[in-house]
Symmetry: D2
Subunit: 159 residues, 4 copies
């Protein structure tokens, strides 16, 4: 049997703050150092920063794109998957990962968090959404303070 | 040109509380009374209650199903759309509607709220999720107190 | 229980010949006369001709669009379903129908024929693709010579 | 910039003949020897044989699955992508590849050939479908006689 790669998703906005960009790059580095593959939406911003980090440490980077053209992936994606399915590709990013690390947040990120929680995939949050219903905060998202904690938590929850 | 129907989505869980079931049925009735078509995920719980309400007032009910079989729709769906795409069908429910009314909430509902906000589709909430980032509540969801207010708000925001 | 509509798909190219346009319009009329709803890809060419025919006889027309915007449907679509999923929406057209009528043919039409056959949905052909493997023609597509025969065959195979 | 992998798709049935299984395994080997990555539907039969071949030569194997569970991939898939989108995942297999090699054939394979031709992706055929319209065979599929010819043709048409 092939040594199947453990895959961790990094989700976040196309227009992150400088701080979030730094967090994403560091998360990508740490995922690669731990020997896991990184999956993301394949475009710019948070996604590109995470891929850049993983690539710099020799990691595998998978970009699940909304469009039809694999060449639209950011330059640090090694394996571009072209879905042609627009936003519905968010489901694919999440379902393919054993854990999800959310950084900052757009509404696209929120949809991915929701899909992950619906499928019982652990969600680790860095400066990201919190969600409440009936005035009570849902405590399914696990908030951490640093990239290394995020990857550590992800790995502990998977294994 | 065909008189195209104005379509409003009702989203909510498969296992609503009795109160939410009542709200959904009343929202369905009001959508039909206002001459709009109702779109939903086509299954049970909130979806079925909303369809039952719309049907009782002679409305059109569209059910966008996760599975391959149109006959899996609840008995009050007049037009079943079988996507075979699982959770990714949530995108289709939301994109096909001019406004979205969210009742109660599961993680699936949260993903639909996120998709709607990402696409600038108005979201009206009845006892549903609220979302925050950096400690600040996102004020894009418009909360109302009754089914009739929900449909009134939806129509005002569309027209 | 709601009187659920029997749904028949009409599939064909965006750039049909004048003859195919005429066939599609007549098929649409006949579907409506028989009390069935018509589902198609919602755009121009064969799809628009079929919807125009169905509308002229008071039928229900459902357009399952590749893009995000319900208003991109042809003017004879009464119920636009916006998938935002590009070509993958072809699956939805086919899965939602109890029978498929194929007119002329593009590669998109061929993909829809293949999906229908894979799901054991009857395919009725008017001037459309034939497919062979190992030099033997696959006889799953039922070829007819006229729009009225096409709809008659579709209804016989469903009921 | 990351050295992005050239990706070639292998498509074929879950229940291939012994001859087709042998062809698929050899195609997989040759793809890996040429330094390309292999993408397929991730399940058994033709897909598994192709992945087994590629793995035996140290190649990268990507499996785009219809279901929600990455662990449903055949044991020779190194990178499982779980779409949860059923047959619609066929679009993803094809869009992510620069060329498609079709072996034998089921209706699913026919849908993938159609998608590839619709997107101007080269299709190389080994004992697979031929398609005709108006009595004329469509000559877009390039038929070859051996696995090595198939991969050679694929690479020539890409580069």
């Amino acid at each position: 049997m092939s040594q199947r790669k453990l895959i961790i998703a990094v989700i976040g906005a196309r227009d992150p703050s400088p701080e979030e960009t730094g967090l994403a790059e560091e998360v990508g580095k740490e995922i690669a150092r731990q020997g896991a593959a990184l999956i993301c939406g394949g475009l710019g911003g948070t996604m590109e920063a995470a891929c850049r980090g993983a690539e710099s440490e020799g990691g595998i980077t998978i970009g699940v794109l909304p469009g039809d053209d694999p060449d639209a992936a950011n330059p640090h994606v090694k394996i571009p998957i072209a879905t042609g399915m627009g936003y519905a590709r968010n489901v694919v990013v999440v379902r393919s990962a054993k854990a999800v690390i959310a950084i900052g947040g757009s509404y696209g990120t929120l949809s991915e968090i929701a899909y992950a929680l619906a499928g019982n995939t652990p969600v680790i949050g860095l400066n990201t959404w919190s969600v409440s219903i009936d005035g009570k905060q849902d405590d399914s998202i696990i908030y951490v303070q640093s990239p290394s904690q995020a990857v550590k938590q992800a790995l502990e929850l998977i294994i």
